[in-house]
Structures are given as structure tokens and as C-alpha cells.
Amino acid sequence: MNRHAFSFGLVVVATTCLSLFYTEAGFGQTNPEQGHDMGRMEETGAADIATGKMIYRMTCIHCHGSKGRGDGAAAIFIGPYSHPRPNDFTAGIFKFRSTESGQLPMLEDLMRTIREGIPGFMPSFRNLGEERIRQVSLYIAREFIQKELPTQTTIKYVEHVGPYTYSVESVVRGKEVYKRLGCFACHGLDGRGTGISLKDKRGLPIKPVDLTRQETFGNGTSHEDIYRTIMTGLDGTPMPGFSSQFKGKEESAWDLVHYILSRQGR
């Protein structure tokens, strides 16, 4: 009986202590730069950042980590022993951009990623609504990236018009471009990938996407999305950006897009 009275007491006391221990800001979420941050926040609207922070802490934090390093508790199992893993926002390397390889994404790029999600790895947050998606993007930019994001891109996004509409001729030309630019080295002649072993920036094994399966595309599957992927590349992975190869003849990138679409039977 005594033994039990003791252990019972222990449980009660410990549970109470735990409850007291719990603080408003929460464990591991304190911001060392709070004071300093407040000044900057005023500029963009402290309320936006505050809401963004709330959203981040309620959901993103589990994967992206309290410091935005991509080391959230749930991060490591997303692709165990392989790519992808949430990226380190503080390192400033982003896969999904409309800017040149090596540059930071625009705010719209962050918003697109959050809105659409990343099939297989990150849910879509479309139902947050545009305003909240903007707020959480602002929070990421201020808190983790800590640099001004570009507001425009030097890559030229041209329309697919005239001879560059989706047609058999365009697909045939696209196949040539595919060979000329060496896409096959990684993606294989049939687009399904080669056996070569590649690593991402973190040293994790990564497979080139199977171009015949649109459901594996992380950067979107629309014509415009694929155009953007080819131009910008996916930083932090072996997939290079090809904007310089298309400089001055941006239209011909559409041929390549059409070739990929044709490989998917679209």
C-alpha cells in the first residue's frame, strides 16, 4: 500500500509540475531576436507576420522545424534515407522559383508552393486562403530567409503562340532539343530515368523524375509549370536550370515542354 501511495503521489506531483512547466510561448519556440524583430515587423505590418507565425507554428513547424532549418520532428521520415526533405530556409536554396538558378524565390513563388503543396511530401494549403498564404510566406521570408526577396525575374516567360503552339511539329522539335541539351543523361532517352546515382545538396540519394508520370512532378504539371521548371532548374538538386541555353530563343523551350507532355500522353 505504501509503495503505491508513494508512486501515486509521484504521478500527481509530476503531472502538476509538467503543467506548470508549460509556458505560453511553448517549448523550444522562443525567439531570441524578439526585440530586434519587432522593429522590422512594423514595416510590413506586425499583424501579418504574427498571423503567419501562428500558422507556421500550428502546422508547418512539424516538418520545417522551429528555426526553419527543415529539421522538424516529422522531417526525417518523409523520405527516409533519401530526397526529399524539407529544405533549410535559412540557407536560401529553393527548388521552386521563377527566378534564375542561384537566386532566392519571389514571394509569389513561396505562395505557389504553399498553395499547391508538393505531391507526396507536403499537403496543399489552398484552403488557407490567399491572404493567409501571403502572411505565412512573409513570415518565412522575414524570420528565416532574412533577405529581401526579388520582386521580378530576369527569365523571359514567353507565350506559346504561332509555330510554338502544341503540335506534332513542335513535339518533334522538342525531341531534338531534349537530346541536344542532354536531358537524357539523367532522364533517359525514354524519359523514365536512368540508373545513374545522383545526390542532392545534402548528400541524400535522389532520382531524376520519371518524365512520363506527371503525378511525380513537384513543381506543378501545367504547361507553364513545366516551362518554369526547365528554365529555373531545381536548386539544391542535380536538375540544372536551362534559361541561359534558351536565351533569345525562349519560344523553343515550349517545344521541349510539348515533348514532355507528349511523353505523358497529354
Binding site: V11, G28, R57, I76
Partner: protein
């Protein structure tokens, strides 16, 4: 040595194999636990799970939010949520999952009698789970369990194969929108978010969430009973007598020899009971504030099912504190108090049951460590019972799972039981289990496991084996 036996008839096995093959060939890549959710949100299983069915921090938040992505009601998938349109093909696959798991070959050594069984996976489960409205989610499990040991009156047991509403069957209702102040949904605030004082300093709220039906309250405990990597070993019954107890995590077991349910059925000493029952009728309320989760509720009574055997309920309170949100680390510690109100019977008198304990969980990189220590006391024991009775008992279970490669999961578990009950009947138990699980594909794995009785073989049904080996399979769609 008993001849190799089989617990399923041939038609059942053929039918099951056929189903399995069809499922695997038709739906090659799928995943564990509730694949329907993965399909619905277009995510891999490991977005929510570490080693299914174990949840990672995001999976816990998803569960806590009533099977929804926190902050987002229904994500992209609002159109898919209506249970009324269940049978339209793709929508259905977003709420439907199937699981078959259990041993294919199992062998007991050093037991009386030794036995080797060829079995078809004991547990077949069908889940329907999803959200009905933004605030109401449902979870229905239909389950076919072969050879489950069940207590019957007179100190006897039987093995049953049952098909029906399985371990869990409940509605989850988010009460937050009803509680307008101080953190109701408004144009300004997020659902589940208090107004912050001075920019972003507010507390996060989730819930309060009610679960009603056949629930497993321990689903919120740091060591949830319903998420086990090393499966339970079934017991063995011969002509009404329990020859060998099953092997379950001892911390959660009933622990008392000779205790009956309030309506007189025998209770297996290793049966998971009270707060840690994997599914019994009750009502549960839980809410999360910052990193603190509070849970309270009441169960119908020890193994009482949906019958209101003594018109009293078994209330419980649980507090859990989460920690870690970086460096690939997360974890929690929980404290539990559970009161069984006239819930059990010793001889012919109803007795109260006090259960309390701790559990903890630490996840670091590919390691998942969790354990529980639970004490039980029988209160108001009648004077003049038939023979001396030990009113106290405790159990301890600790498990570690380590994902050694992307395909290989290694697990080890230690169980210790300091039993109570009639002194003439009781015995303590200590067992260790090791398991290697190999994933052929995301939704299909084989495991090889070994359990070793550290107490040594004895005449008591708790110790009626020295070593147990099994080869089993786990398939999910």
C-alpha cells in the same frame, strides 16, 4: 509436439490470398495505417508516420485536428469529403482502407504443449475514415479477428473468431466553433488560434474535440495502445481452460489473476484494459493548448462493450506535454489517472479499480523510443474473500524502433509484469521481444520476430513458453 495446425478454413485462406494478390497488383504503391488519408491528401505515408502505424509529430497534429491538416479545413479536398457520395469510385478510395496483418508461421518452444501453427493473418481490418463536415470526422473499423481469447463466466475462456465493428468506431466533433469566445473563428483569427498579445505571442488551441463511440482513449497517450509495431501474441485455450496467456505490452494489461468483469466474465491477465483498451465504448474530450494536451473522459466499464452493466462509468484524466520541434527531435510525456467504478468483480463482489501511470516517447532521427509504467490497485476489496488476494500490481513496457535502412525496421521490446490477484494463482512475467521488419514495398512488409520468456518456464499459464518465433506479414491498402 502438437501437429501443425491451421486456424482458418481453406476457403477463407484462398479468398484472402486472392484478395491480397488483386490488391497488390491493382494498387502497387500505397501505404500503411490509413492509406485513405494519404490518397486523399496526395501524401506519402511517411508524411504522417514514422514507422506505420506509429505517428510522427505532424501525424499527431493531424489526428488532433480531427483527421484534418491543422489550420486548413480539408485542404484541397473539400469536394471529396461527403460520406453521402461514398460509392463514387475515387472518392471512395479516399476514405476506404484495408489491412491484413498477423503471423503466417508461429512456433512456441518450451511450452506445454509445444506447437507450430500455420496461420493466415489473424487480423483483417477495413477502415472507413474521413471528415463529414469541417467539424465532424468519423472513423469506422470493421475487423475480422481469428482466434481471439475471450473470457466467459465461471473462470473459463474461449477462442472466438469474430467479424464486426472492430476496435474503434467513433465520431469526432470539434467543439471549437461552438465556443465562440475567446478564440472563435472570426475574420481576423485562425480557427484554433487565440488573439496574440503584442504580435504572435498568443497560445495555440486545438479542440476541444469530443470522441464518442467505441474509442481508444490511449490514442493520445505518449504510448498509444493501438499503435504497436510488435504485434500481440494470441493466447491458447483448451476445453475452456486458458493454457497460455497472450503476450501484450504488460504495462497496459489487466494484471490481476482471478478478476472478472462486472457481469462475471473472466478477464485475461494480459488483456489490455480500461484506459488502454484498444477500443471500448466511451466518450472522450481532449484539447490542446500550446504544448499541453489535456484529456478527460469516461468508459462504459471493464470489457463491458455497449452493455451498461453497472450503470457506473470509469472516468479518466490524462495530461501530456509535447517537446521538441527541431533537430529531428520530438517527444512527449504523459501522466494518467483512471478510476474504475465498480468495474470489476472479485468472487461475487463488485470492486473499484485505480489505475495510474506515466508514459513517455522520444523520437530522434530514425529512432523511436516509447515506454509506459502503470500501477493498478483494487479498492474496496470485500472482507472474507475465498483466498488471499494481492490488491496491487504494476507493469512496465518499453520499446525502441530503429529504421536501419529505408527498408529495414529493427525493434526491441521489454515487458515486465508484477502481477496481483489471488496469490495462489498469480505469477510475475518478464519477456523480451526482438523483431526485424522488411518492407518489400511501402504497403507490404514481412517480419520475423522472437519473444523470450525471461522468467523461465513454469506451470502458470503466463509462463507457458520459453521462446516464441513468428514470421508474419503486414499488408495495407
Amino acid at each position: 509436439m502438437r501437429p501443425v495446425s491451421c486456424r482458418w478454413n481453406r476457403n477463407e485462406i484462398l479468398c484472402g490470398l486472392f484478395l491480397g494478390v488483386i490488391m497488390i497488383t491493382l494498387f502497387p504503391s500505397s501505404c500503411f495505417a490509413i492509406p485513405a488519408f494519404a490518397r486523399k491528401y496526395d501524401l506519402s505515408c511517411t508524411s504522417c508516420h514514422t514507422n506505420p502505424p506509429r505517428l510522427n509529430a505532424f501525424g499527431e497534429a493531424f489526428h488532433m485536428a480531427g483527421f484534418q491538416i491543422p489550420t486548413v479545413q480539408e485542404g484541397e479536398t473539400k469536394k471529396k469529403r461527403n460520406i453521402g457520395r461514398v460509392w463514387s469510385e475515387t472518392d471512395f478510395l479516399n476514405i476506404f482502407s484495408f489491412r491484413a496483418n498477423g503471423n503466417l508461421v508461429e512456433s512456441f518452444q518450451g511450452s506445454n504443449p509445444d506447437e507450430t501453427n500455420l496461420t493466415f493473418p489473424r487480423d483483417l481490418e477495413i477502415y472507413l475514415a474521413g471528415t463529414y463536415t469541417d467539424e465532424i470526422s468519423y472513423f469506422i473499423e470493421l475487423d475480422r479477428e481469428a482466434g481471439a481469447v475471450q473470457g466467459i463466466p465461471g473462470g473459463f475462456f474461449e477462442e472466438r473468431s469474430e467479424f464486426g465493428i472492430g476496435k474503434e468506431f467513433f465520431l469526432m466533433v470539434d467543439l471549437q466553433p461552438l465556443l465562440k469566445a475567446p478564440y472563435a473563428k472570426s475574420g481576423e483569427t485562425m480557427p484554433g488560434m487565440a488573439h496574440g498579445e503584442g504580435g504572435g505571442g498568443g497560445i495555440m488551441f486545438m479542440g476541444p474535440m469530443v470522441m464518442i463511440g467505441k474509442i481508444d482513449p490511449s490514442t493520445n497517450f505518449s504510448y498509444p495502445t493501438n499503435r504497436q509495431v510488435i504485434l500481440n501474441i494470441p493466447g491458447r485455450v483448451d476445453s475452456g481452460i486458458l493454457q497460455r496467456f497472450g503476450l501484450t505490452p504488460y504495462a497496459f494489461a489487466s494484471k490481476f489473476f482471478g478478476v472478472k468483469t462486472a457481469d462475471g466474465n473472466s478477464v485475461e491477465v494480459t488483456k489490455e484494459v480500461l484506459y488502454n483498451t484498444p477500443g471500448d465504448f466511451g466518450i472522450d474530450l481532449h484539447a490542446m493548448m500550446g504544448n499541453l494536451l489535456l484529456q478527460g473522459g469516461a468508459m462504459q466499464g471493464l470489457q463491458a462493450g455497449n452493455r451498461d452493466v453497472n450503470s457506473k462509468k470509469d472516468p479518466y484524466l490524462m495530461a501530456r506535454l509535447n517537446f521538441g520541434q527541431e533537430a529531428y527531435t520530438s517527444g512527449s510525456i504523459s501522466g494518467l489517472i483512471n478510476w474504475g467504478n465498480d468495474t470489476a468483480m472479485v468472487d461475487t463482489s463488485l470492486v473499484n479499480w485505480l489505475r495510474y501511470g506515466f508514459s513517455g516517447n522520444l523520437k530522434y532521427k530514425y529512432l523511436d523510443l516509447y515506454g509506459a509504467f502503470i500501477w493498478d490497485t483494487i479498492r474496496n476489496l470485500p472482507v472474507g474473500i475465498s483466498s488471499p488476494f494481492d490488491r496491487t500490481a504494476n507493469g512496465f513496457t518499453i520499446e525502441g524502433d530503429y529504421l536501419a535502412t529505408d527498408r529495414l525496421l529493427l525493434s526491441i521490446r521489454y515487458d515486465q509484469l508484477s502481477a496481483g490477484g489471488f496469490i495462489s494463482q498469480k505469477a510475475d512475467g518478464k519477456a523480451i521481444a526482438a523483431q526485424a521488419r522488411f518492407y518489400m514495398r511501402d504497403n507490404f512488409s514481412f517480419y520475423l520476430r522472437d519473444s523470450y520468456n525471461l522468467e523461465g518456464v513454469g506451470t502458470n499459464a503466463l509462463r507457458n513458453f520459453r521462446n516464441f518465433v513468428a514470421l508474419g506479414v503486414d499488408f495495407d491498402f
